[in-house]
Amino acid sequence: MARLDKIGKDAIGVAGVLAVLALAPLVVGSDYFTGILTVCLIYGIWATSWDFMSGLTGRENFGHALFIGTGAYMAAFVDSKFALNPWWGLPAGALVAAAFSLVVGFPTLRLRGPYFALAMLAAATIMQRLTRIFWQYTGGEEGIPGLDTLFDDPLATYYFCLGALVFTTAVLLLLARSSWGTILRAIRGDEAACQAAGINVTFYKIVSLMISAAFAGAGGVLYAYYQQAVTPDVFGVALSITLIIMVYVGGMGTIYGPAGGAILLALLPELLRGLGEYRLWVYSLVLMFILFFTPGGLIAPLWRRVTGSPR
């Protein structure tokens, strides 16, 4: 009975959040709001995908933008250079991002702590510089503008992204709560012990990174088709770090927390638009307060308190 109660509270909570997210754009009825929220959802996909790999294994990836940018540029190439149906961008983006993660992950995943973080940061930044150096193919810092959208109606785009976020969170949450997740957490705890116990640690790390990259790349594709343009910022350090902050605020390792953190922190600068020039300063200040006073994250602990669920 108690168990049913706990599941019930969780389920009601989830249903509630989904209802709010589904109805919000209809209630506000402005393309601006719908657009902003769409971007928030995409950030949610990125943050969740980061958490699945880095949150669980403790290998913080400071270059997640590499996968995002890869997905975005693949979408741009598919739509603009190869003039194919933009929908092909989704599998293309996800697959190429996963392939990149294999290439970069293989030599770097054996590194610990700040070393892996920096290697990923370097990889993403190198990619960013390369897009500027090979400007004939990538449009340099002007990027590739004028892309198509997946849907004509911004609401349709929104609901598709909402579905994508729900799908991503559900899949990754399931994986995280399965034996896969247990192994990843064990790797965070003591990798040597796992190795000694006969677990192929490298396999798990690489495959998790690939899964993380695939979802991030897919998110990048959605982003490209929403923005209708890609620019080198999509590989940037700022984006990678923003995601880590979002995950942190959401609650590292919880998978669903980062989605909430992303939506909150992506929405905040838009809500502060009334502050004009001081907008980003206030945003940094708010961020600092959140980071200082909620070192365990904001969203996930809040969720646990409200629904009484243990995790």
Binding site: S30, D31, Y32, F33, G35, I36, V39, R132, I133, W135, G139, G140, E141, E142, G143, P145, G146, L147, Q227, Q228, A229, T231, D233, P269, E270, R273, G276, E277, R279, L280
Partner: protein
């Protein structure tokens, strides 16, 4: 008693009548400024627009309606730019968008501007790709116009005019090096420049593009010295011009410099780098000289109200607003479908010259239209127009450590 009653009633009726008349015209025309407000170019765009708005409202507005300003910070991040466009169009329902600075941001915003079917007047981005959209897909992108600056390849043409007409023909320089930031607009412009210069009989032994984040130019300057050039043409916008020019001065570099240096256009550039911009020649749209009868009133109005001189987006924004309101007045409506044909017929004498648009809605350069002025920083921060000949008001000088080729007459 009845008399008082009647008078009061009459007054009330008159007031009501007046109020309803006012109410009928009250819906203002909203001007949406989309610009990076943390940067000087953004602040000046907003301030120049406000200046124009106040002037126009003071004369009764447009079509009996007042103008109102709505501002959205587009930053230099395309994502924020798209959000800014959406905020102004879908949330604040502006009648026209004016702004722009970073071409990457403007390009990303264009499909959303087209989607919102709102007229957009670019006053800061120079990429030719911006108006290419109009050519490729007129029906969808007809809302986009560029008022300022003239686009990058056209700036190259004007620079060719300066190098062949002034530097070569009048001062005898025949070997020049070209250096610029490795950015798309330079990549578009540099080949046009080089070809034009060579066609004009100038040897270009070196053309080098450097990483825009570079802040230590010593290796680059050394390389240029070894190329044997006599004059250094620079093409800089987002790169660290301040640093480049300071390092040029500190190294007592044996070549004078000039060209396109957007930061070098800033009225306080000379003073903020401690006078080290001496003898640098920079292309400009406008400065405190009566280029047209409207230049000085604008300059004085801006500096009087804001206590600082304007940067290049300011005259663009100011003139853009007048161009728009005059088109609206001719169209007798703010409906874009009616205003766009009027905008296409624009022939407006503004602060920088006469504005006309070509087939792609891009501002046309040329005699009698809009031209780049080539202006040199001289002693004490004085700016002297050295080219074109018709507008030149002084002689070109050499950097103090180089003793040749100054106009000795």
């Amino acid at each position: 008693m009845r008399g008082v009653f009647t008078s009061v009633a009459a007054l009330a009726l008159a007031a009501l009548g007046g109020a309803s008349l006012a109410l009928a015209d009250e819906k203002p025309i909203v001007i949406g400024a989309t610009t990076p407000i943390q940067v000087q170019v953004g602040r000046d765009t907003v301030d120049a627009l406000q200046l124009a708005i106040d002037e126009i409202n003071g004369k009764g507005g447009v079509l009996g309606r007042k103008l109102k300003l709505a501002v959205a910070d587009e930053t230099m991040d395309p994502q924020q730019g798209v959000a800014a466009i959406k905020k102004l169009t879908a949330d604040e329902h502006v009648d026209v968008l004016i702004g722009g600075y970073s071409s990457g941001v403007t390009l990303a915003e264009e499909p959303h501007i087209a989607e919102a079917k709102t007229i957009y007047l670019d006053v800061g981005s120079a990429s030719p790709s911006i108006t290419d959209f109009v050519k490729k897909s007129y029906k969808r992108y007809k809302y986009v116009f560029r008022v300022n600056p003239i686009n990058a390849p056209r700036q190259a043409d004007q620079l060719v005019g300066f190098t062949t007409g002034k530097l070569k023909s009048e001062l005898g320089y025949n070997t020049m090096a070209i250096v610029g930031e490795n950015a798309k607009w330079v990549q578009d412009l540099a080949p046009v420049l080089k070809a034009g210069m060579e066609k004009g009989g100038i040897k270009v032994p070196m053309m080098e593009l450097f990483d825009p984040d570079m802040s230590d130019f010593s290796p680059l300057l050394s390389k240029i010295k070894e190329s044997g050039a006599q004059y250094l043409i620079v093409i800089l916008s987002h790169a660290n011009s301040d640093v480049f020019v300071k390092q040029w001065y500190d190294a007592k570099f044996p070549m004078p410099i000039g060209g396109i240096d957007v930061k070098g256009q800033d009225p306080d550039f000379f003073q903020r780098i401690g006078g080290k911009a001496i003898a640098e020649t920079v292309s400009l749209g406008m400065l405190a000289e009566p280029v047209t009868p409207k230049t000085m009133p604008f300059w004085n109005g801006f500096t009087g109200k804001y206590h600082r001189p304007p940067v290049y987006t300011a005259p663009g924004a100011y003139d853009a607003l007048y161009i728009y309101t005059e088109a609206v007045a001719r169209a007798k409506s703010t409906d874009p479908d009616k205003v766009i044909p009027e905008l296409e017929k624009t022939k407006y004498l503004g602060t920088q010259g006469t504005y006309e648009f070509d087939q792609q809605h891009d501002v046309k350069p040329g005699p009698g239209l809009i031209n780049l002025l080539f202006v040199q920083w001289q002693d004490g921060g004085k700016r002297v127009i050295v080219w074109p000949k018709e507008q030149a008001n002084g002689k070109m000088i050499s950097p103090p450590w180089i003793n040749q080729r100054a106009e000795a007459k």
